[in-house]
Symmetry: C2
Subunit: 304 residues, 2 copies
Amino acid sequence: MQKASLTILGCGSAMPTRKNFPSSQLLEIRDKQFLIDCGEGTQIRMCQMGVKANRLGHIFISHLHGDHCFGLMGLISTFGMLNRTAELHIHAQADLEKILKPQLQYFCNDLSFNVIFHTINTRKHELIYEDRSVQVFSIPLKHRVPCCGFLFEEKQRDRHIIREMIDFYGIPTFRIPRIKQGEDFITDEGEVIPNGILTTPSETPKRFAYCSDTAYYEKIIPIIEGVDCLYHEATFMEDEKIRSKQTEHSTARQAGEIALKAGVKKLIIGHYSARYTNQTDLLNEAKAVFENTVLGEDLTTYEI
Amino acid sequence: MQKASLTILGCGSAMPTRKNFPSSQLLEIRDKQFLIDCGEGTQIRMCQMGVKANRLGHIFISHLHGDHCFGLMGLISTFGMLNRTAELHIHAQADLEKILKPQLQYFCNDLSFNVIFHTINTRKHELIYEDRSVQVFSIPLKHRVPCCGFLFEEKQRDRHIIREMIDFYGIPTFRIPRIKQGEDFITDEGEVIPNGILTTPSETPKRFAYCSDTAYYEKIIPIIEGVDCLYHEATFMEDEKIRSKQTEHSTARQAGEIALKAGVKKLIIGHYSARYTNQTDLLNEAKAVFENTVLGEDLTTYEI
């Protein structure tokens, strides 16, 4: 089976540090790439990791704070210089198009590909993207500006056919696709061979949720329930709880609480305030509530 | 004496590489900081080098290609978060204000400081900035879009007074500033003590020229003649001479030729095309013409 993986390009917050670039991550599912947020330096991080973005067609922007979108112009320009031809789709609030279009006209007026904007309603939990193998849903978040997270759901794959059974029952090739989808096989003699004898189930589809930036917000719990991996912001620790409320960010402990209540399998924290030079403290605070927490780090790939 | 120094934050060209960020450098003269170009990631490089930009008041943008200005929004946002209060002056072509203003309004509408735009006429060689210790002149360059380099000239400092002479002639304190500026001293008895006896000359003022991006362009030679340090772009090697002409860039050899003809003291090359993984080849090509050439490198400080 192909694995789903998440590569963190940047998991700092508003101010970059020596370790962390602003928010950006690359999700790879079934040979497709999805970019989630695009802070300054995203294309530089990709270059540092040797990421070829030739399977990247869709970018999802959570909200219009600079640390989540200032890398778009550089990335698009570079795609132009690489003579990209495939359409590039950007999913974001409507304002982004208004801000980027004049810049695209000025700096990239001879682009070799189209940039297509799709408007997200950040207040609604709804399907915003779908292809044959993946669905993406918006997750309304609670932040100072309109903001939403993203739930990526792999679709159920076809069942695995048991090769010996094809031979045993002499199943013709043209029948196989439907059997993989769960159909029984009827022999020439009219005998019904139940699908369960011919196939084994496919892997459980992967689910990944990205929740940044947000205050502690329990309304997301039913949406992200049981995901294989949750990336949740942990800008502050409990020592800065007042500031986290004011700025509508979460503490590491709160990220752990959300993970626990939603029964997720793994939590990755990130979007750390630049004030924390020792991020292990943030990890420990989240782990005290939710054991299977991982410290998000730039230039690192996580299996989902 | 305080030294003048140049810190290269990025000396890559349009496409970043593992080694090089896009164009940006910080010039420090007499305790002031000047930023020259501001490609994507400039603030990240500053952070990586521990540069505090609290003496930075003026930014000079050579031209409006993304790799020379996409870092401005991130830098300005961060200055805002740091509660900067000092005015920030940006010297660039008029179009930059039109492009940045809507972004500033959207992303930084509550900035704690003013951003002031100054228009450069890139076709003219003229004084574009002056304070008590430094003058900056534009240097018209030859590129696909309006573009100019910058000549930074330190002003002549006061002469050094010889302390023993103050005591010997009993020179009152209030006379000292004018003697430092070259005046003779007249004793109470009417004796004229020539300035040359009382003082020694100050250091020769430093001159630095930044020339990027540009085709080989001999018209800059009289302007940059004899500078202590010339940063000249060397996007290509002679093997890509046709491409360098098409794109109006220089080869390393041409950078060396300009340095030689202008009789500069030191040449730093940069703005390397991403195709050259071994930049020593570029250095050697320039050195074959102009021996005192230095390879520009990101995150490196050069004395001027």
